[in-house]
Symmetry: C2
Subunit: 329 residues, 2 copies
Amino acid sequence: MSKDLDVTGVGNAIVDVIAHAEEAQITRLGLHKGAMTLIDAEAAERLYGQMAPAVEISGGSVANSIAGVAALGGRGGYIGKTRNDQLGQVFAHDIRAAGVEYTTKSAESGSPTARCLILVTPDGERTLSTYLGACVELGPEDIDESLIARSKVVYLEGYLWDPPRAKEAMLKAANLTHKHGGRVALSLSDAFCVDRHRAEFKRLIDDHVDILFANEAEIASLAENDDFEACAAAIRGRAELVVLTRGARGAVVLSGEQRFEVAAEPVARLVDTTGAGDLFAAGFLHGVTQGRSPTDSARLGAICAAEIISHIGARPELSLAKLVAERGL
Amino acid sequence: MSKDLDVTGVGNAIVDVIAHAEEAQITRLGLHKGAMTLIDAEAAERLYGQMAPAVEISGGSVANSIAGVAALGGRGGYIGKTRNDQLGQVFAHDIRAAGVEYTTKSAESGSPTARCLILVTPDGERTLSTYLGACVELGPEDIDESLIARSKVVYLEGYLWDPPRAKEAMLKAANLTHKHGGRVALSLSDAFCVDRHRAEFKRLIDDHVDILFANEAEIASLAENDDFEACAAAIRGRAELVVLTRGARGAVVLSGEQRFEVAAEPVARLVDTTGAGDLFAAGFLHGVTQGRSPTDSARLGAICAAEIISHIGARPELSLAKLVAERGL
């Protein structure tokens, strides 16, 4: 089948509920600042009751990346589970309106559409509490082979290892991707998520992953080592391309014996870091699927990440295609 | 009963769905730029399907004003009808999290919570299409006498004249307000809304309204005259305080034979004019209920309006109390 899609994502389909919070509130609520914690429906209701007035914006890590690919002018597909409720309609509307092919059937019963309660502290850092809701319904039957077959890259979310049947779905997606000559990308998603699934993630990477994304905390958790260079040495060669993002310190790309570094893009006003990693991946994957070099792809990632952290929410507000054109890319 | 609430609002309880749009799209969709059009469920679904990726933020004209009063440090109450669905939960959470007393029972069946589809053009102007949904369920039985009795001012939304039983609710609220020694404020809401209900609005103002808010288009529609000064002369004395907002040209307050003018507050970056009038009213009513002069109250209104148009959405993002303190008010 012809590869008319650049990147198809498989992830948790989530609506973000974003509110400002003071540092003291994060501590008082017993949350891990900067991390993602899974919570149940009751805890979600309790936490929501303590949050400031909020804004609802479609989210989901890999869904954000795919929306980013589309905003760069690439063609994207998405697989992820919602319930057929109001927030599910919001999620489906937003990803389709971004130009992404999204055909996963929503659940007719069971838990509501997932939401991620996001507290943004004055330093722009975000702390995530996710109620997975309908995401637990995602299973191998949702992996649309034709979407996979049409995609140059299939991008999987590490977070998917949490809902019980989604890992089967991920493995099916990975196998189908290679069967159809595509490449498998994976985001490690979150240091605590890596901690929950370290051994399985290592096997997944070795057996299936061509392009790996991780930030410093995630790679430290995977390698169980706090030294960045030691982590980089440990992961080198485990995937064709390893992309390590370092926040304000830029990013490192490892490709075989080669190493490429790019600086972070300057940001006039840091507002909300939600989606920084997701949009870096968007830029990088767009570059890769357009045949760009690892350095140019990482520069695209840095530009997209800078756009997303300059406003609330993890979906692009600007035409990223125009933005990167202005930067000469 | 002691007046421990400054302002209680009665309005349509709405969640805003906000997306960017080009001028050409407004024309293509046949919408009146800058106005509010009522649409049914089917038209709402059709329009939503054509909108760009959106953001959901609690709205509702008078609800925005009351959230503004609370953000200024005042005490607010709110009466408005939602359905017990996800968007209804969002509305209730946000207004309560803003510190407002909101006790109206949500509808257990019938139409879903109202939404306003808002297209924001590059000039910051907003065009509204409202699906009233559960708002049509608001009736006199929802007017909580104790909330009214405790309020110095009860602020009514002109838009409430559209849902069939809400006008009974408004009249009941107005009568109870005066019975308990409070003052009745009214927003004319929208020029087309005035056009639909001109004669009834005139009667409502003469019989019940102490503080009237209108922008230039609304007062022109009420007076059926395009000359601002002629409109001002026609409306003078019909209410104790008449507040006429003029966008970038500031505002005029008429009080008996007196006339006060204030300039608009400068705005560094105009993003989205949604809520400008609502937040002007918030500042003005907060001033009035704190015993401030008409000029100071209008200056408070101008500062709040400037904050709201500098970002997406009609609910304040900053502590308005801090903002006005910085301006020496």
